[in-house]
């Protein structure tokens, strides 16, 4: 069973309050080597059968239509998962 991975990130110009909160948590725990944190989303779409180019095209469309909101987010990756689990 193949899987398609879709990754969505908040646009760079959009404030990411979740990332800000995580950044504060890192500092409190003593992880001082990191600056800004941004939090995105990773979706794993199970594919019935082969992950063909057609399936990928469908995944890209789904990523734009439902999985992301183009006003505030970018789809940064749509790819076939390499690990077979």
């Amino acid at each position: 069973m193949a899987r398609v991975v879709v990754e969505v990130m908040p646009k760079p110009e959009i404030l990411d309050p979740q990332g800000k909160a995580i950044s504060g948590g890192l500092t409190r725990l003593g992880f001082t080597g990191f600056g800004e944190v941004r939090q995105g989303k990773r979706f794993e779409l199970e594919v019935e059968g082969e992950a063909t180019e057609e399936v990928l095209a469908q995944a890209r469309e789904a990523a734009e239509k439902l999985l992301s909101n183009p006003v505030i987010e970018n789809v940064v990756a749509v790819r076939v998962a390499e690990d077979a689990s």
Binding site: P10, I14, L15, P17, Q18, K20, A21, L66, L67, N69, V71, I72
Partner: protein, 245 residues
């Protein structure tokens, strides 16, 4: 504002306008009962609509109330934006039916592209619940006709993801075409760009706002300032506009 609102008991008994307003309940909606009550107090008949319905049951207007539809999964309003009933709502809005989105309803209107922009998590990362002053900037929409342009009203605000964002071009267009309906007064409560609390579409029949007018329609229950009934105008405006049609 309306005669009936001064006497809620009478208003509850009679809905003489002949106008019916649908209130949509999604899984996770919270404020549908309050919205329905506000509709009744404004002299119209509230009609309960369900997210899985495919028709609007002949109502004259639709309200998408507040809450956490579908648990706010994916993004606030994202799943609700594609609920079966939204196809009918989008079509009716396009044909001029008055549509109001409050809080989560505003988020749904943005996700279904009836209104531009999006709502993101409050910039200060906290849920906020307080009485909020708003400037009525556009008293020409179906939902604000009973207000005096430039008046300040006070109604409750309660949200975790109320930060209104859009591109500079969209914000400029909203302002230059007078489509900012409500603007926050005083300190910005959630990081909304240009203090925007509510907007309308080009035709003025679709309005979305984060604060809750339906929680300020009865004396003794809303904010103390303004007698607690500053939200009445939203509902009475639509009823009056629909009666006049």
């Amino acid at each position: 504002m309306t005669a009936v609102a001064e006497n809620p008991t009478t208003a509850e008994a009679g809905t003489g306008s002949g106008i019916s307003v649908g209130v949509v309940t999604f899984p996770g909606t919270l404020d549908d009962r309050d919205a329905a009550r506000a509709v009744r107090l404004a002299g119209a008949e509230p009609v309960n609509l369900w997210h899985a319905d495919s028709t609007l049951s002949g109502v004259d207007a639709v309200i998408l109330p507040g809450g956490f539809s579908y648990g706010d999964y994916l993004r606030c309003g994202a799943i609700a934006g594609f609920a079966p009933i939204m196809e009918a709502v989008v079509a009716a809005a396009g044909a001029g039916m008055p549509v109001l989105g409050i809080c989560n309803g505003f988020q749904i209107l943005c996700e279904s592209h009836l209104l531009p922009g999006a709502l993101i998590r409050n910039d200060h990362q906290h849920f906020i619940c307080r009485d909020q002053d708003l400037l009525v900037e556009n008293a020409d929409t179906v939902w604000t006709g009973d207000y005096e342009q430039g008046r300040t009203i006070r109604i409750p605000l309660k949200n975790g993801e109320g930060g209104y964002v859009a591109t500079d071009e969209v914000l400029d267009e909203l302002e230059s075409t007078n489509r900012v309906v409500f603007r926050y007064q005083g300190p910005n409560p959630n990081g909304s760009l240009r203090d925007i609390a509510g907007i309308t579409n080009e035709a003025g029949n679709v309005v979305g706002l984060m604060p809750h007018p339906e929680h300020a329609v009865e004396a003794g229950f809303g904010p103390e300032a303004g007698g607690g009934v500053d939200g009445q105008g939203v509902f009475s405006s639509a009823v009056r506009a629909l009666v006049a049609r």
